[in-house]
């Protein structure tokens, strides 16, 4: 397995290098990062030249890419284009915030999706199953931005009618969040709406997978054998069916986790959560290739790592899989 992991990591390095060059090229040629600066009244030409010199903006793209690679390795992703701000501290900050959101969402989504999926499979074609199927399709079909806006509107309407605000509708914490436990309660309170919004699509998707996997397993021969041997239904379901049905879901969750680390762009933007998604949007709007590159590299590494984790986990969970 070690050989397999090393080989995968080597392949991934090549992919990363190619991807970074392509992304750098596209980001760089997509617009002039000094555009807004140039149309500012009375802008100092000396200052513009300072920026051009500092970031080698007059050099060809491949050379600029090499400067970026050097900066990324020796200077922790370097600094932003205009205000020369170190990129890494900002990136760490937003990544931590996204992780908080993501971990809570994924945990809750998995719990609910497994419960709903298993119960729907066991009670196939029951009222519960039909209801959950309907809600799943609704959840999958509803755009996240719309759901987020509606959640905000609902909270505001309740507040206007009752004077009672159920949840904060923006930002990661209150003006005075306090410290210690108070801080974390305040943070949790601020994350309720975004978590609920993200949970809708997550549960809708995962519960369908879980239901399908469970149906496949409970109709398989070994489950029938287990029942024939006289095991009680709970044991059959929990020990033989559920454990095997979870395998595809675990793989899917691992794959999704890497992708989601790139931030829930829409949700973070609507709720003004200082996370990876909002960081990316701001970097794009400012036409600054350097934070965009840092973001994309971190995201790409995470996707590669979690893809690997998914593959390894699959092998560990399913003895039929062997690494070549």
């Amino acid at each position: 397995m070690l050989t397999y992991i090393i080989r995968r990591l080597l392949y991934s390095t090549v992919v990363l290098v190619l991807a970074s060059f392509l992304v750098f090229t596209f980001v760089t040629v997509s617009g002039d990062p000094l555009a807004n600066l140039r149309i500012s009244p009375n802008v100092s030409e000396l200052t513009v030249q300072n920026v051009i010199d500092r970031k080698h903006l007059d050099d060809p793209v491949p050379k600029r890419y090499l400067y970026w690679v050097q900066d990324a390795f020796t200077n922790k992703f370097g600094t932003t284009l205009l205000d020369n701000r170190p990129i890494l501290p900002d990136l760490w900050r937003v990544m931590k915030n996204t992780l908080q959101l993501l971990i809570v969402v994924q945990l809750l989504v998995i719990i609910f999706a497994v419960l709903i999926g298993v119960y729907s499979a066991i009670r196939q074609y029951s009222g519960f199953d039909y209801t959950m199927t309907t809600f799943s399709f609704l959840g999958l079909a509803t755009p996240v931005f719309w759901l987020a806006l509606m959640a905000q509107v609902a909270v505001v309407q309740i507040y206007e009618k009752t004077g009672h605000r159920l949840f904060p509708i923006a930002n990661l914490n209150s003006v005075d969040p306090g410290s210690g436990l108070d801080f974390w309660i305040d943070r949790a309170h601020h994350l309720v709406l975004p978590v609920l919004v993200l949970m809708v699509a997550g549960i809708a998707g995962y519960s369908r997978y879980m239901r399908a996997a469970m149906l496949e397993v409970i109709n398989s021969d070994y489950v029938r054998t287990a029942r024939a041997k006289g095991l009680n239904e709970r044991r059959v379901m929990m020990k033989h069916a559920l454990r095997n049905a979870l395998i595809p879901l675990v793989t899917l969750v691992a794959l999704d986790f890497g992708t989601l680390l790139g931030g829930a762009v829409v949700t973070e933007t609507v709720f003004s959560l200082d996370g990876m998604g909002l960081y990316f949007v701001n970097a794009l709007f400012s036409n600054d290739p350097y934070p965009v590159m840092a973001f994309l590299m971190v995201t790409a590494v995470m996707i590669i790592v979690f893809n690997l984790v998914a593959d390894v986990a699959y092998g560990l969970l399913d003895p039929r899989v062997r690494y070549d």
Binding site: L37, P41, F112, V156, Y159, P168, I169
Partner: protein, 544 residues
């Protein structure tokens, strides 16, 4: 329902209650009584001030009341003394010499007095080539300045500089704080002193910046509030919702339709004024532009065929009814020097057709018609079909284009849309001069008329329309060195009426309205159309 199902249901309810639990005991904004939360759309990247990458209104909102000025602009955009005992004086015209005197009560929050050395150090910051300040204009024209601990400052300029009052009014840095510092790396995340009504308190990146009352501020009325919190919410709808949900009490929204809700809501008050930023259509005179645009009669037909008043009222009917069309490229309707020079180019569709036919153009309609699809072709310049550039993602500009396109099409002039992102349009297309008509906004200021030569002078730094009228350029150059404001205004207005209205280098559309929305429980806020923003009168802000 079976027992197992009941357990399952109970589990679901338990988890749900854990999520919803904290919210059930939530109370609106956990803030102190003397706190106002100012919801804003853009977060300053750092606290450096007018530095490259940080030349934002959002930054000046935070810093104006920290690096306080000798005088500041009030809501009417007039200078009023603050740290200074009186307005700076013009002592001598040649060499240009001005003087100012800081009040005895003008002190830094650490107790040291504000003195000449502070302004001197500020001058040195702005002229140091290594410092990435956004603009050195005016500062680099200074020859000498008083140093030391005197409260009186004399500034001598190398050459006449019309906007000398802005330099003299600038908020100085604290010399004793910045001494020996690399200013490119200073004040990134905090500012230790203040000469103004508030002090920097804290910065929570991505969330908020908090400033608090400066108890040592004696040069003017002190803040009644304990503190002001700038909360940053990127999403437009969320900002409005957050204000309604009492997560903030004040905001300065862009002109957006959501403002209409607040105009009807008795829990909020909306203040609105016309600002300095104005929308206009630039016309390309260069070789890559349409040859027809070099013909004065075509430009005359364009401005005559656009009902600018209808555009302004269609865009702002709900949130700013009666917004006037802009009739000057130099001044805004609320300025005392504003003259309706472009009123000489009134809207008349019949006149457009008569102008074009009179010059031998053919193929167009005989009379204006909404369903017209005949386009004029004119001798030696071809079909009157122009590329119309503007930015994507701006609903008001898209609507402006649609209205103008229909208006001009009904008189036989075609506009072909070329929408681009701001980065591409301003970074590549505008300087390339490969366009015909371009709709965008100039961010103006009270001293914009002084720098008109940069936009409309031959070879001006920002003259991307390649317009050139030597006689006008001569006048505009004279304007930039005329020290007397009244004389400057006379020169500008005469030149606009005599040359610009005739040449039509740009078509003025309207000056954008500015808004503030405040909850009724906070008082004292209103629009200030300059970079001071609504907190210019922070000492009058109160909360119940």
């Amino acid at each position: 329902m079976s027992k197992r199902s009941l357990w399952l249901l109970a589990g679901l309810v338990l988890v749900a209650s854990l999520i919803v639990g904290p919210g059930a005991t939530a109370s609106p904004a956990k803030t102190n009584a003397g706190t106002v939360v100012f919801i804003h759309d853009q977060e300053p990247p750092n606290l450096q001030g007018p530095w490259v990458g940080n030349n934002l209104y959002a930054t000046s909102l935070v810093l104006n009341n920290i690096w306080y000025g000798c005088q500041i602009r009030n809501a009417a955009a007039d200078f009023v003394p603050r740290l200074c005992v009186a307005k700076p004086k013009l002592v001598k015209k040649s060499p240009l010499t001005v003087s100012l005197e800081y009040k005895k009560t003008a002190v830094w929050s650490d107790g040291k007095p504000v003195v000449a050395e502070d302004l001197y150090a500020t001058w040195k910051v702005f002229t140091n080539a290594a410092n990435n300040v956004i603009s050195r204009t005016g500062w680099e024209d200074i020859k000498s300045m008083t140093r030391g601990n005197s409260k009186k400052v004399t500034i001598v300029f190398n050459k006449p500089y019309a906007d000398w009052e802005s330099i003299a009014s600038a908020g100085p840095y604290a010399a004793h704080v910045i001494k020996g510092k690399d200013m490119n790396q200073t004040f990134l995340t905090s500012i230790p002193v203040s000469s103004g009504p508030w002090l920097f308190d804290s910065l929570q990146k991505g969330v908020q910046i908090t400033v608090k009352k400066n108890p040592r501020f004696k040069a003017g009325p002190q803040m009644k509030l304990d503190r002001l919190v700038f909360r940053y919410i990127l999403d437009t709808n969320s900002r409005f919702q957050a204000l309604k949900a009492s997560e903030g009490q004040h905001m300065e929204p862009q002109p957006q339709l959501q403002i209409a809700d607040f105009l009807k809501d008795s829990k909020f008050k909306v203040d609105r004024k016309i600002g300095y930023t104005y929308e206009h259509i630039d016309i390309q005179f260069g070789a890559k532009g349409h040859p027809a645009l070099k013909q004065p009669y075509v430009r005359q037909a364009l401005i005559t065929g656009i009902n600018r008043g209808q555009v302004a009222s269609a865009l702002y009917a709900q949130i700013s009814p009666g917004l006037p069309k802009l009739q000057s490229l130099a001044y805004k309707p609320f300025e005392t020097n504003y003259k309706k020079n472009f009123a000489a180019r009134p809207f008349s569709q019949a006149k457009v057709i008569s102008i074009l036919k009179g010059k031998g153009c053919t193929g167009g309609p005989d009379k204006p018609s909404a369903g017209n699809d005949k386009i004029f072709s004119c001798p030696n310049v071809g079909k009157l079909s122009f590329r119309f550039h503007t930015t994507t993602g701006n609903q008001l500009r898209a609507l402006t284009f649609e209205i103008i396109q229909r208006q001009l099409k009904s008189v036989g002039i075609e506009l072909v849309p070329r929408f681009q992102t701001g980065g591409v349009m301003f970074g590549t297309t505008l300087p390339s001069r490969d366009w015909d008509l371009m709709l965008f906004a100039w961010v103006g200021s009270p001293s914009s008329s002084i720098t008109l030569k940069d936009i409309y002078g031959c070879g001006g730094d920002q003259n991307d329309g390649a317009y050139c009228n030597r006689a006008l350029t001569k006048v505009l150059e004279k304007v930039s060195v005329t020290l007397d404001a009244a004389e400057r205004a006379r020169l500008v207005n005469d030149a606009e009426a005599k040359y610009m209205v005739k040449d039509i280098p740009s078509i003025p559309m309207f000056a954008r309205p500015l808004y503030t929305i405040s909850a009724n429980k906070v008082k004292g806020m209103g629009v200030n159309p300059t970079q001071e923003g609504s907190p210019w009168n922070i000492s009058q802000w109160t909360t119940s």
